[in-house]
């Protein structure tokens, strides 16, 4: 049984249909890359899996660990092990980054019947994790993402993923806007979480990231559908030829 199964997923945003029948199966231990032109619906798919209320599922299903996610709250999905690294991490003035992560980790631990971490235990953990993603500890006491640079925001997403240790990690363009060093850190972060019981979905525009995180499958989303799936070579082909040949192919077929 796949860890995640997206079946004929149709999604409306603000009355417009954005996803028009997406099918995708992700097994434990696998890494899937999703590519596709701007506006093709990649973030829509990611946000719909995370449970964002603005994205309305009109048809189809998302099954995770054998259960439908539809009707489940975002926090229930997170507690079940789903994590989305946002393409545009949200700034929340007034809540410190470490309070935010402590609240999140303890909420997830509670839901699993685990003891909450106290302030001291959490501090130990967060410092260690911040170290692995080479994040300045000063950013822990600042408000969540407030005034963070683009790269710092992305690094903060990876830090959260490292702290929350999800079963299914979805990275929505976490590589965009990163310098080479940051890119390697993000890749290391992902690779260190790679495990037989975990899976990752990596949304990216660039083959570059896939040199560091080698995917098992590459999918192309276009016009709200997955128009092509293949192995890691597909990413190289896209890098070389762009997306237009796929559109021409599709036209020729119809």
């Amino acid at each position: 049984m796949p860890l995640l199964e997206v079946k004929n997923l149709h999604v409306n945003v603000g009355g417009t249909e954005i996803l028009k029948g997406v099918d995708l199966a992700v097994n434990e231990g696998e890494i899937h890359a999703i590519m596709g032109p701007n506006g093709s619906g990649k973030s829509t798919l990611a946000q719909t899996i995370s449970g964002h209320p603005a994205f309305e599922v009109t048809d189809g299903d998302i099954v995770y660990g054998g259960e439908s996610l539809l009707g489940k709250k975002p926090e229930e999905r997170a507690c079940a092990g789903i994590f989305l690294a946002f393409q545009y991490p949200v700034e929340i003035p007034g809540i410190s980054n470490s309070l935010f992560m402590k609240s999140a980790l303890n909420a997830i631990r509670r839901s699993r019947g685990l003891q909450e971490l106290d302030a001291f235990e959490f501090l130990e953990l967060i410092k260690e994790k911040a170290n692995t993603v080479e994040m300045d500890e000063a950013l822990l006491s600042r408000s969540v993402n407030s005034g963070f640079s683009g790269g710092e925001k992305k690094r903060n997403e990876i830090l959260q993923m490292a702290v929350l240790e999800p079963r299914l990690g979805i990275l929505d363009e976490t590589d965009s806007g990163l310098d080479i060093d940051a890119l390697r850190i993000v890749a290391d972060g992902v690779n260190s979480l790679r495990a037989p019981h975990r899976a990752m979905i990596i949304v990216t525009h660039y083959q570059r990231l896939l040199n560091y995180i080698v995917p098992d499958f590459v999918h192309v989303l276009n016009g709200g559908r997955i128009v092509r799936s293949g192995g890691k070579e597909l990413a190289l082909e896209l890098e070389e030829k762009g997306y237009s040949w796929l559109e021409e192919e599709a036209l020729a077929r119809s």
Binding site: P74, E75, A78, C79, F86, V90, I92, S103, A104, A107
Partner: protein, 447 residues
């Protein structure tokens, strides 16, 4: 003709005029003749002005009909039972060395107060201080809070009887805060108190002064408070006003501040109790080179109405003022923020900044926000801004997507919004207690 005991009780203005007739002889007995003409002038002004209607620009969004139609008795004397003592104690400050003066239904409660001051610092009931500080008090009392266009200051002055007197002598710098606590209890019938405070910081003095108003839940009463505060040359005063009146209470208060040259003053206000509460803070930047700051937070729920009026009067050159007010409104509550910045013609190099941000948690909640700039000088920097918003849905989703349940996520965001103001409270026990109260308040209201 004999009055029937069943005649309907007087309400509104008339009841106060009648009560003044009855009370005046008692006032005159206490041997402070100089107050008598002040009281008479005040009741005369009150009689002329009456209760403001909504045609009055300063009261346009605050409807006093419910207040005006109620009869209020003289505050009942109470014996301090366990409930009242425990309630009052829950508001006392934890800071060691804090001087705390407590009034219950307007009467000084020595059992709950701790006034052992040293080095000439004086914290005492005003009525008592009048006996031996007559000269100083006479120079300031009712000299700063103007009566014109302020019917409730006039009413307070007419019934001026007691309250807190604080005097910090020259160059005395107090670390521990001074706390004025006004507790109201429940009574058979609604009652009124007119607390009157006079706070004086002499040249170079430093102090933190907290005024707390709190009422036992269910108590129906009307607090009509006036505070006059004088910040002497180069003195530095932080004033905290915390309003936790009972949900059935009316609270109308004016704080009148006079800043002498090179002084610093910061006001921190929390308004969260009462059915109807109005807080006027008027600061006169009277001397050159003053800094004034006004920070306010109002938290409304149910059918509460919370009104904040501020006036920063730049009367001298080279003064700066900073004003940040924030509000959170739930249920059918409503609020008013009216911030007036007035710059006199010769008050050049004025630097004034004002902002009001309000968070509406429900569709039925409403805020009326209005900056008023009256600038008569030309070399002035003055900026203001107002915003009204809802809880940021993308931030809410972001928190929830990390596993934080909706109720907790909302509480975190509400706390975060309020925190900008609470963070500026430089009294530790207060800051911690208020943070908890805010979270509890909006959790209880099923946010």
């Amino acid at each position: 003709m004999t009055a029937s005991p069943l005649t309907t009780p007087l309400v509104g203005k008339e009841q106060f005029l009648a009560e003044f007739e009855r009370a005046e002889s008692a006032f005159a007995d206490n041997g402070r003749g100089w107050l008598q003409p002040i009281r008479r002038e005040a009741i005369h002004r009150f009689a002329q002005m009456g209760f403001p209607t909504r045609r009055n620009e300063q009261w346009r969004h605050t409807n006093l009909a419910a207040l005006e139609s109620q009869a209020f008795r003289r505050a009942p004397d109470v014996s301090l039972n366990e409930e009242i003592v425990a309630f009052a104690r829950s508001f006392l400050l934890a800071e060691p060395g804090a001087l705390q003066i407590v009034f219950v239904n307007g009467n000084f409660a020595p059992e709950l107060s701790s006034l052992a001051a040293s080095d000439g610092v004086r914290v005492s009931p005003l009525a008592m201080a009048m006996l031996d500080e007559g000269e100083l008090i006479r120079r300031h009392l009712a000299r700063h809070a103007r009566l014109d266009e302020r019917p409730f200051v006039a009413l307070n002055t007419a019934f001026l009887r007691d309250g807190a007197f604080v005097h910090i002598p020259k160059e005395r710098r107090l670390d521990a805060p001074i706390h004025l606590l006004f507790v109201s209890t429940s009574a058979a019938e609604p009652f009124v108190t007119h607390p009157r405070n006079l706070l004086i910081a002499d040249e170079g003095a430093e102090a933190k002064i907290v005024e707390t108003y709190a009422g036992l839940s269910g108590a129906a009463y009307f607090t009509n408070a006036t505070t006059e505060l004088v910040v002497g040359p180069a003195a530095n005063v932080e004033h905290y006003k915390l309003q936790f009146e009972s949900p059935a209470a009316f609270h109308l208060a004016t704080i009148q501040v006079r800043q002498e040259r090179a002084s610093r003053f910061a006001s921190h206000t929390l308004s969260t109790g009462g059915l109807l509460a109005r807080n006027d803070i008027n600061v006169a930047l009277a001397g050159e080179g003053c800094e004034g700051a006004l920070h306010g937070l109002y938290l409304g729920a149910g059918k509460q109405h919370l009104d904040s009026h501020t006036l920063l009067e730049h009367a001298s050159p080279r003064c700066s003022s900073r004003e940040v007010y924030k509000g959170i409104l739930d249920g059918e509550s409503s609020a008013v923020f009216n911030g007036c910045i007035q710059v006199h013609p010769h008050a050049q190099k004025t630097d004034a900044l004002q902002s009001n941000k309000c968070l509406l948690l429900s569709d039925a909640a409403a805020i009326h926000t209005q900056p008023q700039l009256k600038i008569y000088a030309d070399d002035v920097k003055c900026t203001h801004g107002a915003s009204v918003g809802r809880l940021d849905q993308s931030a809410l989703h972001y928190l929830r997507s990390r596993g934080i349940a909706e109720a907790e996520a909302r509480a975190l965001m509400i706390y975060a919004f309020a925190n900008e103001v609470i963070d500026g409270f430089r009294i530790d026990s207060l800051r911690e207690r208020l943070g908890r109260r805010i979270v509890e308040r909006f959790q209880r209201n099923g946010v």
